[in-house]
Every structure is written in C-alpha cells, then in structure tokens.
C-alpha cells in the first residue's frame, strides 16, 4: 500500500465511536506481522507500551519496567471481562475494547489467537492505532 493510500485512510477519533472498523487480512494477523506493527506503534508519541501474546508466546514492551506485572494483569483482566460481557449482552465477538483512565488509556484487540494491548496517553488517537494494526 502506498503512503498516499495510508494517509487517505487515516481515521478520525470518531471512527471508533461510530463503530467503523477495518477488516484485516489473515497474513497481517500473524504473530510476527503484528509484532512488527506494534514495534512501530510503540515509537509513536503518546504510546507508553504494548503487550502482544498468544497461547505460546508473549512480547511485553512497557515504558515503566517496574510496573510490567500491573500492566499485564490489567490487560489480561480486560480481555477476560470483555469476553464475559460480550457473551452476556450478545455483542458478538469483541473486536476492540477501550478502557480510559484518568491518566492513561488501554486499547485491547483480539485478532485470531493473538491478543493485543496498547497502553497510551489519554489524548493519544487510539482510532489511528486500530487502523495501523489492521492495515
């Protein structure tokens, strides 16, 4: 995809709230592919870390090294809780979950067997990150 096309597809913040999602192709959802996408996302201003995991492997890149466990526990809890909530309220498969705190926000996504959690500053544009992961 050319740079121009990427720019054309840059989503606005309201895309997430309006439920506009992008379908991802299977080859882009492999662990390695997601890993390289997230490594790029990690360098963006406002992104403080990410966790990528599947059943056998996990990558954690968190700014505050001493708090990695707390980030990981929250990430895991959000994924588990959202699965239960989605089931209870017949939401279908949870495509993305956004948890906004006073200081940071957490974007979680389930792509195949891979679970992604991106931690970012509250004013960071999470909708862009969703598209960056999926395109």
């Amino acid at each position: 995809m050319s740079k121009k096309q990427k720019n054309d597809l840059s989503p606005s913040e309201s895309d997430f709230k309006q439920g506009i999602m992008v379908e991802a192709s299977d080859d882009l959802l492999s662990f390695d592919s997601l890993s390289s996408s997230l490594a790029e996302i990690r360098n963006l201003t406002g992104v403080v870390g990410y966790i990528l995991r599947n059943q056998t492997t996990a990558i954690l890149d968190i700014e505050e090294q001493d708090k990695v466990v707390e980030y990981a526990v929250l990430s895991s809890q959000v994924h588990e809780a959202s699965v239960q909530m989605a089931k209870e309220f017949s939401l279908g498969e949870a495509e993305s979950i956004l948890v906004e705190g006073k200081t940071l926000k957490l974007l979680c996504m389930c792509l195949g067997e891979n679970r992604i959690s991106v931690f970012m500053d509250k004013d960071a544009t999470h909708a862009w990150i969703i598209k960056r992961i999926l395109i």
Binding site: F16, G19, M85, E95, E100
Partner: protein, 264 residues
C-alpha cells in the same frame, strides 16, 4: 434498588429506548456494585454479571488512573460504561445506533441528572457537607482559577418550586459572556442583571444571592462573587465577566455559559 434519587434516575433510564431505538440495555450502578436504576430490557443476571466483571477490571486499573470509560465494540453490538461521580452508567446498543444521540444521553443527559441529584443530596450527608463547606467564600474567590472538570451541559432547567421550600436543585440559566474591565471592576466578581438576581433571591425565600457557579459548555466550572450590573436597563441574557475569570474558564466574549446561584 435503594436510594432516594432512584425514581428520577429510573425515569431517565426508562426513556433510554425511546431516545435510542437501536439501544437495548441501560442501567446505573454505584461504586458499591448496587444497581440504582435499570430499563426493562435489562435483566438482573445481566447487571450482576456486568458489575462483577467490571469490578474485576477496576480493581486492577490503578495503573491507568482508574476507569472513567469502558467500551467494547463487538461484531454485533457495543457496550459502554461511563463513570459519573460515584455512579456508572452502562449502555448496550447495536452498532447501527445513532452515536451522537447515544453520546448526548450518556455524556450529557444522565451526567446532568446525576450531578443535580448529587448536589441536592449533599446537605443530607454531614461528612460531605463538611468537606464542601471549607473551600467556600474567600478561599474560593481568592483563587478563581480552580477549575473543576464537569461533563458538558447544554440544557436550561427551570425547576418547579415547592411552596414552602427551597428549590430541589438550583435554577440554571444560560447567558452570553460580555467582558468587563477597568480599575473599578473587581477581578473576582461577575455581574448579572438585577431582575435575574431578584428572581433567584425570591426562589430562595429572599436570601441574598452573592455567589454564582459558572460552567462553560466545554465543562469548565468556577464559583465567583456576583453583583448586579450598574446600568438600569441591563440586557437579561448577558453576564459581565472580568478577564481573570474568562481566562480561568477558557472562554471569551460572545460565548455561552450556564450560570446557577450558590446559596449558603
């Protein structure tokens, strides 16, 4: 289902499906996990399950500063939980739901009701009353730049006035900002027309209205001193605000603000 404001909140929540036909569930619970109000489409099992799961998230969320908003975008629907003071509003709707309408319900209407109910409850709670009594008058006015974040409010409410009591909640009126300056204009005092002040005073059984709370549509809020405008035929829709308060509110001439009287 326990507290006094339940009836009001229950009515608001019951209207959820009328406002948002694409929505299904809506309910409010407090930080103790008690359901305060819910619409007909929501079952007790659903509320309990959601509260339990949400609680498990909030218990781990100190690292991001607690949970103010929680959103799940599912393939068939979306769930949103919004923190409002000590309450949480949960809504479930289809992906086709009108997001603007949904947002106006979750971020304007319900927060406004909860804020109003909370403000009327405060006198009944001694501990909170103690806390709110401290920063009044001079302390607040010496430092008018103390801003309190609040959800945007766009409604003008004129309360029903019980015959022998103060209004259940303070009247809120919208004004257009006009800047005042000069040596004789105190930097901590705004001016309104005498008729509005007189009406408010009547509502409060003749109590003098010396302070007002001003809130911008962006949610910036401040409490400051109030005086009536000097001109005899003052425009009723205008509030005269000094530069210092304008800066604190991050607003300016011609902008709209919500104003309500503060009665001690």
């Amino acid at each position: 289902m326990t507290e006094a404001p339940n009836n009001t909140l229950q009515t608001v929540i019951a209207e959820f499906n009328h406002i948002n036909p694409e929505a299904s569930s809506a309910f409010i619970f407090n930080r103790f996990g008690e359901t305060i109000a819910q619409n007909e489409a929501t079952t007790k099992e659903q509320t309990q399950s959601l509260i339990a799961n949400f609680d498990s998230v909030t218990a781990q969320a100190q690292i991001i500063g607690g949970v103010e908003e929680f959103t799940i975008q599912g393939s068939q629907g979306q769930l949103n939980i919004t923190a409002i003071n000590n309450y949480f509003l949960a809504t479930v709707s289809s992906r086709a739901a009108d997001q603007k309408r949904l947002q106006s319900f979750t971020h304007v209407l319900v927060p406004l009701y909860i804020k109003l109910l909370d403000s009327t409850q405060k006198p009944l709670e001694p501990q909170e009353e103690k806390e709110t009594a401290k920063p009044q008058a001079e302390e607040q006015l010496e430092n008018p730049t103390q801003i309190i974040e609040a959800p945007p409010a766009k409604l003008t409410l004129e309360p029903e006035v019980p015959s022998e009591q103060f209004p259940a909640y303070p009247p809120i009126k919208q004004f257009m900002v006009e800047k005042i300056g000069g040596l004789l204009a105190p930097s901590d005092t705004v001016r309104l027309d005498a008729e509005t002040i007189s009406k408010w005073s009547t509502l409060y059984k003749g109590k003098p209205i010396t302070q007002v709370s001003i809130e911008t549509l962006e949610g910036k809020k401040i409490t400051c001193k109030l005086k009536s405008v000097k001109e005899e035929k003052a425009n009723q829709g205008i509030i005269q605000v000094p530069e210092k308060i304008l800066q604190a509110l991050q607003t300016g001439k011609g902008k709209l603000v919500m104003v309500k009287p503060v009665v001690k």
